[in-house]
Symmetry: C2
Subunit: 446 residues, 2 copies
């Protein structure tokens, strides 16, 4: 029996013997709902249960409003096939933009090293099953490992994505090296507006010519999300667990590669995952995600490249700040300590940078949680001299966003306004206690 | 019922209805053991059970070697009081070195900000219960927030710790701000050799004058570890969960502040926790930890401060490497991407640094996992030009270790040898699959 609920909701559902995908009847004071009990991420609360109704909509019901609940049938798993969940075409056009990475690599059995060697169309011929999901078009764009990704390539990818979506495909998959995939997903999240379909980055931690490769599940799951989901945002689809069970769907601005080698190396940070997907099914925790719009995708590739990311640590040299200022940098993202702090002895250089019209955004090297610069003296001093608090943004995301802000705005108030406004899901107003320690699991006890 | 085992061991123990602290009789081919079943961290395997025998020793028994197991009694929790677990004096001398931080702070109710205001002895008078654990001596050393911690203060703390231990106290507690506590714990781990007792850093995420403070449990647990454990290493003791249940005991070189504000902000990285502790009990997963030695504590505070920590990311300016080289830096720790990579276009500057006799250590900004520079072309190129792979060290720990290495050795081979040798538990030969995603939990389903 699998029941993904926790706490009070778990006790409540166990009483009637319900499990994920059971068909249940729920009576509240004013309504009666019949539906399929959907799995729920661990990171959500234990006060609600979520039903997929026959009309296709999901509804969350507060358990303390429930006057009666009845189990009508077990395991309605087949009832909610992906197409029913998200009302997408069964067969859609998908463009695959190849940029390289391990997913397009082979092991050189002489040296044991891995080299990027083949294109998206070769990947396609390796996995012909993908043609069952959609009509595929491949777009060879780059063939590099992602440590060599650069802001100028983000522009090329963004333009290519816009071109493909505006040519009428349902969604786009970008095959990409994993090292900096989360930088690219953040950059695309800011560069692309009014998305008419899903933009899905995927890759592999083991090359496709190895028995242990994760490329198969990642690639087919990514194509499935591109073809069949109603997402209108940039996401990363990579293994949810070390096994070939499901992939997790991560928001492009709330995800980070957190392990050097594991298949489940990507974790959502300060966000739960948007859904899970494998070859058989796709489950979206969809109240949270952005839906695809209509019309034309807009692309804006203006970036100020004179932005640097620096870390605050005991012994950090303040002269490095002066170095960037003197070199004409326009922005600095500081990964501060704790709630957003920096050593006292670098304050002078930060102040000088601000006086030279350099924008400074402070995030936290803790990665998880939110900066709060009003609690301690140092935070208040930093606010007073004019830094911008990065809230719950990852340092990497703040870096990309500041490049975009400074590429598009000149007035200080505009830049500040842009950095403090939620543009692509990168700022979250409140963080659930269950988001830490991080996990991609939605089932308890896995 | 609480049973902290997982997988096969869980099934095995559930069959006889055993739970943590049950008294069991175990027969193998050659032996019969009677003992108390000890809890086991989730991050350990499911092939063994661990018993506390009457003679005070812990023994791990492979379950597939067990011919018979019998439950003799439930809940022998009282049988293993801390003193029995670790054979320590019930009452010991402990020195508390105060350095400031939130644990020594008050809220200013006019501005709402928090200021460091009181000393370790005032903390003591706030928590008189601590006198039941040991005879306490307070050593006021600093009164700063930890963002202002500097390498020179690490030296003062190390000297103070050595002085206290060599004066005959059983253990030392250092009250410290949380922001950079893990830098200090790493520095002390390298600076102090032949520890004759536990060196325990602790702090608070909420000041002690708040109802929600975590200072009480952290402080008393830290004193308990200092007074009653047989550890001979530097550890951090902070909340294990958001509630006042237990504190986790983290190895000083394998821990990081991973959340800006939570009480359970510290997580062990690439390591399981060494144990858990609260006011009633202390459970050490002790096969793993280093034991206190005899004789004199040695202190070595030689550090080369011309070492910098830099991050590799798309768009990073290679000139910053030249800047450090030209300024006479002796070492650079690069937090590379993935398995330890850097962009192609910064290779020239890295090569120039190496040619100028600068030592470069490459770690991973993923934080979790190990660098492996033999898999991909870039890793091989980096090894070829002469960088040192940082294995599974955190970038912060590699930074501190490189300062120490360059402070003590001049020959390149000596520095390299030191960096690649495990000195204070910072390098781990193999990482359990269960160490990621990270958790401080030892009980499943909490």
């Amino acid at each position: 029996m699998t029941l993904s609920y926790h706490g009070r909701a778990k006790v409540f559902l166990e009483e009637i013997g319900a499990e994920d995908f059971s068909v249940v009847l729920v009576k509240t004071r004013n309504n009666v709902f019949k539906g399929v009990l959907l799995p729920r991420p661990l990171t959500e609360d234990d006060k609600h249960i979520v039903l997929k109704l026959n009309n296709g909509y999901n509804i969350g019901v507060r358990i303390d409003k429930v006057e009666e609940i009845k189990l009508l049938g077990q395991k309605a798993r087949k009832v909610i096939s992906p197409s029913e969940i998200i009302k997408a075409e069964e067969y859609a056009d998908v463009s695959i933009i190849g940029t390289g990475g391990t997913i397009a690599s082979r092991v050189d059995y002489v040296t044991g090293a891995v080299y990027p060697q083949f294109s998206a169309s070769e990947l396609l011929s390796r996995y012909p099953e993908v043609e069952k999901i959609g009509k595929i078009k491949t777009v060879p764009l780059l063939n590099i490992f992602s440590e060599d990704m650069r802001p100028t390539y983000w522009r090329e990818i963004a333009e290519s994505v816009a071109r493909e979506l505006n040519s009428g495909v349902k969604g786009v998959v970008i095959t990409h090296g994993t090292d900096t995939m989360h930088f690219t997903s953040a950059a695309l999240s800011f560069m692309l507006r009014n998305l008419t379909g899903p933009v899905v980055l995927t890759g592999a931690q083991r090359s496709p010519d190895r028995g242990s490769t994760d490329a198969y599940l990642n690639f087919l799951s990514a194509v499935k999300v591109a073809a069949q989901s109603d997402l209108g945002e940039v996401v990363i689809v990579m293994h949810q667990t070390p096994s070939d069970t499901y992939c997790a769907i991560h928001r492009g601005t709330k995800v980070r590669k957190m392990h050097t080698s594991r298949r489940d190396a990507f974790l959502s940070v300060n966000s739960h995952i948007l859904g899970i997907v494998n070859l058989k099914e796709m489950i979206m925790f969809s109240s949270y995600s952005r839906k695809a719009g209509e019309g034309e995708v807009e692309v804006n590739t203006k970036l100020e490249e004179k932005v640097a990311l620096i870390y605050a640590y005991p012994g950090v040299d303040p002269d490095v700040i002066d170095f960037y200022v003197d070199k004409g940098y326009r922005g600095l993202v500081v990964a501060g300590t704790g709630l957003g702090h920096t050593p006292e002895y670098i304050m002078k250089s930060l102040k000088r940078a601000l006086e030279n019209d350099v924008t400074i955004v402070v995030t936290s090297q803790c990665l998880f949680g939110r900066v709060n610069m009003k609690v301690y003296r140092r935070g208040r001093e930093l606010l007073k001299i004019g830094v911008i608090p990065g809230e719950d943004m990852l340092p990497e995301v703040a870096y990309v966003k500041l490049m975009f802000a400074l590429g598009n705005y000149t007035e200080k108030s505009e830049v500040t306004g842009f950095m403090r406004r939620n543009i692509a899901g990168e700022l979250t107003s409140s963080l659930s206690l269950r988001l830490f320690p991080p996990t991609n699991q939605i089932y308890q006890g896995v």
